[in-house]
Symmetry: C2
Subunit: 318 residues, 2 copies
C-alpha cells in the first residue's frame, strides 16, 4: 500500500467553554464555532517557523517558543523517536477574539498539533496529542491546565481528573443541550483573572462545589438537563470573577427568565454562557442577555451552538 | 380492597461508607451488613417512647428527642397531615459498633423511619423519608449531612448534590465492585473528627478533589473500576484524619499490594475501606490489612460486601 506523503495540511480547532460553572479547571466542552485555522507546510530547512499570523490585530508573537501554536508543534516534534529532517512552516488564522474566555490560545495550539500530526502521517493518536497542546497552552496562560485544549482537541464534554499524571475523561452529552455564548467585546487576560482568585477557600464551599461537579457528571450521563442546570452553580470562582463582567447579575436573571437551565462565566470570561434544552430557547436566551448589554451600551457577539462532539478536524490537505 | 392494619413492624437498615475517598460529605454507599434493627409497635397512648435499646453497652439515650431513631420518628410524625391518634413504641437493636465510621447512627435513624412509615401504611415514598432521617442523624452528629442516611435508606451509591435544598442522586454501580472494611476496635466520635478539620483549604487541592469526585461519578456510570480506584484520592480530609487511625499508611500499602483499586477512611473513621474488582481480591485485601493491625496488637473486624443496592428493608410485620 502506498501512502501519499503530505506536504500541506490545514486544520480547524473549535472554541471551547471551560469550567462550566462548578468545574473550575476540570470541566470543558467544545462548540461548533468559531475556531482557529492553522496551515502547516513541510519545508526544506529544519525548525519550525511561523510565517503568517492574521485575524488578531498583531498581538501574537512570531517567536516559535512564545507562540501557543509554535510551542505545541515544537513539543510534538521533540518527542518523535526519529527527528524530522524537514522543517515546518505555520500560518495561523485567528478566527476568534483573543482573551474572550473561549479558549482562543487552546484552539491555536490544538489546530497546530492536529495539522502537523497529520502532515507527518499521524504518528500520534488524537488523545496522545494532549501533552503537546498543553505545552502550547502553557505558553499563553502560564499554567498547564487541560480543560480548554482537551475539549477543543477531542470534542464533546471533557473532565480533567488530574493534570499530573494527565487523566482526561470524555463524558457523554444530551443531544438537545444547546449553549448560548454572550461575548461582550472587552478583553481580560487569563493570567490576571487567575491572580484575583483567593488561594484559600472555605471547606464548606468546596464541599458544595464538588457536590455540584459530581452531579453535573451524573446529569451528563443521565441525559438530565435539569440536573445539569442545577449543578452549574459555582460558589468559589464566579462570586469573584463576575465583578469583572459588566451586567453579569442582570444577564443571569434575564437568561434564566428566558428559560435557560444555567448560566455562568465561560473560562475566565468576559464571555458568559447559558445552557438550554433546545436551540429555540438558546436563541431567546441570547436575545435576553443581549438586551442587558445594549442597555449598558456595550458591543457584543452572540454564539448559539450545540455541544460539538467532533472537536478539531482536517479541512484540507495536499 | 381491605388493607390489613399493621400494629408491628421490624425493619433493618444497613451500615454505609460515607465520603468514599474524594467525596467528603457528598458520596456514600450501603453495604449488606452489619446494620441495625428497629421494632416499632403501635400503642394506645400518644407520643413516641423508646422501651428498649440493646447491643450498644448502655451508651445511647432513651430520651426520644436525643435518640437518632426517636428523633427521626418524631420528625416523621410531626409532618403528617392528620396527627396520629396512637403512640409508637420503639425497640432498638444495635447490631453494629457505635462510632465506627460505618454510619451507625444513620442505620438506626433509617430503620426507625422505614419501620414507622410501614406501620402507618406508607404515607411517604422511600425518598420522601430523607428529611426525617436527616433530622435523626442530626441528633447524633450535630451536623445535618445526608451521605450515610441516604445510602442506608436508598441503597447503592448516592451523591448528595446539596443539603439545602436537599438534592440526592442515586448512581449506578459495577456489579463486581467489592468492598473490604477494616474496623479497628477503637472509638472515634464524629463530632471530634469534624473539629480537627481545617476550615480553609487551598484552591489547588480543592480543584484536585472535585476533579476526582467528577471522575468517580464517571467511573460508576462507565463501569470502570480502575477509574473509580484512581478517583478515590482524598487530598483534603484523609491527610488530617488518617493520623487518628493506627497503621493507616501501612494498611494502605498492604491493600494496594494485595490488588485493591483504592483505599481510604470510611466516614470519619476509625474504619477504613478498600474497593476491589472481585470478592476474592476483597478477601485477600482484608487479610493484608489485618496483618498490619495484628502487628500493632489491635483487635479488628473485617467485613467483605458487595455494594448493597437494596438499602433498608422490612424484616417482619404483623
Amino acid at each position: 500500500m502506498t501512502v501519499k506523503k503530505l506536504t500541506f495540511v490545514r486544520a480547524f480547532a473549535p472554541a471551547s467553554v471551560a469550567n462550566v460553572g462548578c468545574g473550575f479547571d476540570v470541566l470543558g466542552f467544545a462548540i461548533d464555532g468559531p475556531g482557529d485555522e492553522i496551515e502547516a507546510r513541510l519545508t526544506g530547512n529544519r525548525g519550525v517557523i511561523i510565517s503568517q499570523i492574521d485575524g488578531e490585530g498583531g498581538k501574537l508573537p512570531y517567536e516559535t517558543e512564545k507562540n501557543t501554536a509554535g510551542k505545541a508543534v515544537m513539543s510534538l516534534l521533540n518527542s518523535l523517536k526519529t527527528p524530522l529532517k524537514n522543517g515546518i512552516d505555520l500560518k495561523i488564522h485567528k478566527k476568534m477574539p483573543l482573551g474572550s474566555g473561549l479558549g482562543s490560545s487552546a484552539a491555536s495550539s490544538v489546530a497546530a498539533a492536529v495539522a502537523v500530526n497529520r502532515l507527518l502521517g499521524e504518528p500520534y493518536s488524537r488523545k496522545d496529542l494532549l501533552p503537546f497542546v498543553i505545552d502550547g497552552e502553557y505558553a499563553a496562560s502560564g499554567s498547564p491546565h487541560a480543560d480548554n485544549v482537551a475539549a477543543s482537541l477531542l470534542g464533546g464534554f471533557i473532565l480533567v481528573r488530574s493534570n499530573d499524571p494527565l487523566d482526561v475523561i470524555s463524558l457523554p452529552c444530551p443531544k438537545d443541550l444547546y449553549c448560548t455564548i454572550i461575548h461582550p467585546r472587552i478583553e481580560i487576560a487569563t493570567k490576571q483573572t487567575r491572580q484575583i482568585l483567593r488561594k484559600q477557600v472555605s471547606l464548606s464551599k468546596a464541599v458544595e462545589q464538588w457536590g455540584n461537579v459530581g452531579a453535573m457528571v451524573a446529569g451528563l450521563f443521565k441525559n438530565d438537563i435539569d440536573l445539569i442546570g442545577r449543578s452549574m452553580q459555582d460558589v468559589i470562582v464566579e462570586p469573584t470573577r463576575s465583578f469583572l463582567i459588566p451586567g453579569f447579575q442582570k444577564m443571569k436573571e434575564a437568561v434564566l427568565d428566558h428559560g435557560a437551565v444555567g448560566f455562568s462565566i465561560s473560562g475566565a470570561g468576559p464571555s458568559v454562557f447559558a445552557l438550554s434544552k433546545s436551540e429555540e430557547i438558546a436563541k431567546k436566551v441570547g436575545s435576553g442577555a443581549g438586551e442587558v448589554l445594549e442597555e449598558l451600551g456595550l458591543d457584543y457577539d452572540i454564539i448559539i451552538s450545540a455541544i460539538n462532539e467532533k472537536g478539531a478536524f482536517i479541512k484540507d490537505e495536499q
